[in-house]
Symmetry: C2
Subunit: 234 residues, 2 copies
């Protein structure tokens, strides 16, 4: 963990931490928050989906979606006909952007305390606030789509057919800069009250499993195609 | 899967499905959506955290949080000082409620297609739209807190110390009725284009692991406390 400067300056690309803001300083459990690039990026890179929130007709909408990261930029994608992508402004020359909150959460364990009140979960999460904009530059769009595929399985974009012109036209990509962002984590066992320690209830943590089970090849996969190294190492 | 009536009638408690609305009919992949109680409840009951979206100063906020279900009601809780719970209106006699979108997602597998475009994930998700209200009835509040603990580990609320008066006062509970809600799921292998079938790329699914690893008892757990049955069966 790096030092987290408690200022509202915009961080330069070289700085080690994102600057906290009113929205990224938690009202509770501030000791669980961190802002350093390393913590934020590690949590983002390990998850498969984010939950993307936006406002539609004054009401919140939260949808799960894939994403990719390139440095301090996140990318999400979807059909050009999908709601958030339409809302981000198809007319790129006057793109108003879309205010979003993008959240990623790992549930690492179930925390069982002697008291109901102190039950909890061990988790790591990242919350990003900002305005997402449509990516119109073809080069950046290709880079973003590669990042989206490589986010699911590192190394995979180089071992699949890239999008053709028609597929590129059907896909909209939104960019969200990592600027107003924080990580939060809980680790360890239950925090029971001293007077509860002699209660006869089991207390501890149920760690949740990570990783994957045996690969399932497509039924129509040619028998001479072997499992590539990047999947063996996954 | 049951028949999903395509109407906007409010479902009665006995009906087998939630009525689709403009917000719960997807703009794309409509065949992946379902509204029957069984599918919706099963997805909700299997997950540990939801992502709760609300609007604050005109901008979306998405936070991960625990939840519980009692029939057609969902409950979330938090400190009485936390933002969404304050926003839901502490003055219960004129509780304006809080417009929320509560989303739950399981990532079941990574879908690797021959083309970058057809990469996907297998998932199951539920999206609930509605207005959340503070629970002020003491009986309902206790029921909700039990449901929150039992959601994490079924049977656990009966084997822990219930909240005392001070803990109850420090905890706010929000109720969200399941009314405008849909489930969505993707299963199976990649959907490659016919002309891509002879490409030399591995294709198939990486199924993600479920379940948990060995329990970690608290370091200070009395040695005569054995692992309860509800944890052995977890």
């Amino acid at each position: 963990m790096q030092t987290t400067p408690h200022t509202t300056d915009t961080p330069s690309p070289e700085s080690a931490a994102y600057a906290p803001t009113d929205r990224t300083i938690p009202t509770r459990s501030r000791e669980r928050a961190s802002y350093d690039h390393e913590s934020v990026h590690a949590i983002l890179d390990e998850a498969y989906v984010c939950h993307l929130g936006f406002v539609r007709d004054g009401a919140p909408v939260v949808l799960p979606t894939l994403y990719g990261r390139v440095g301090d930029r996140l990318y999400v994608h979807g059909s050009t006909g999908s709601r958030p992508l339409r809302m981000a402004g198809a007319a790129a020359d006057r793109d108003p952007g879309l205010q979003v909150c993008l959240t990623v959460t790992h549930v690492d364990g179930l925390v069982l305390a002697r008291s109901a009140f102190h039950h909890s979960i061990n988790y790591r999460s990242v919350v990003v606030h900002g305005t997402a904009h449509q990516v119109t530059d073809p080069e950046e769009k290709r880079l973003a789509l590669d990042a989206l595929v490589d986010h699911v399985v590192p190394g995979r974009s180089a071992d699949s057919r890239p999008a053709d012109t028609k597929e590129l036209a059907a896909t909209a990509v939104l960019r969200l800069d990592l600027n107003e962002v924080s990580a939060k984590a809980r680790t360890g066992g239950p925090n029971d009250e001293p007077e509860d320690m002699d209660l006869p209830h089991w207390a501890g943590v149920v760690p949740l499993r990570k990783g994957h089970d045996a690969l399932i090849p497509s039924a129509d996969l040619a028998p001479d195609i072997t499992v590539p190294d990047y999947l063996i190492e996954l």
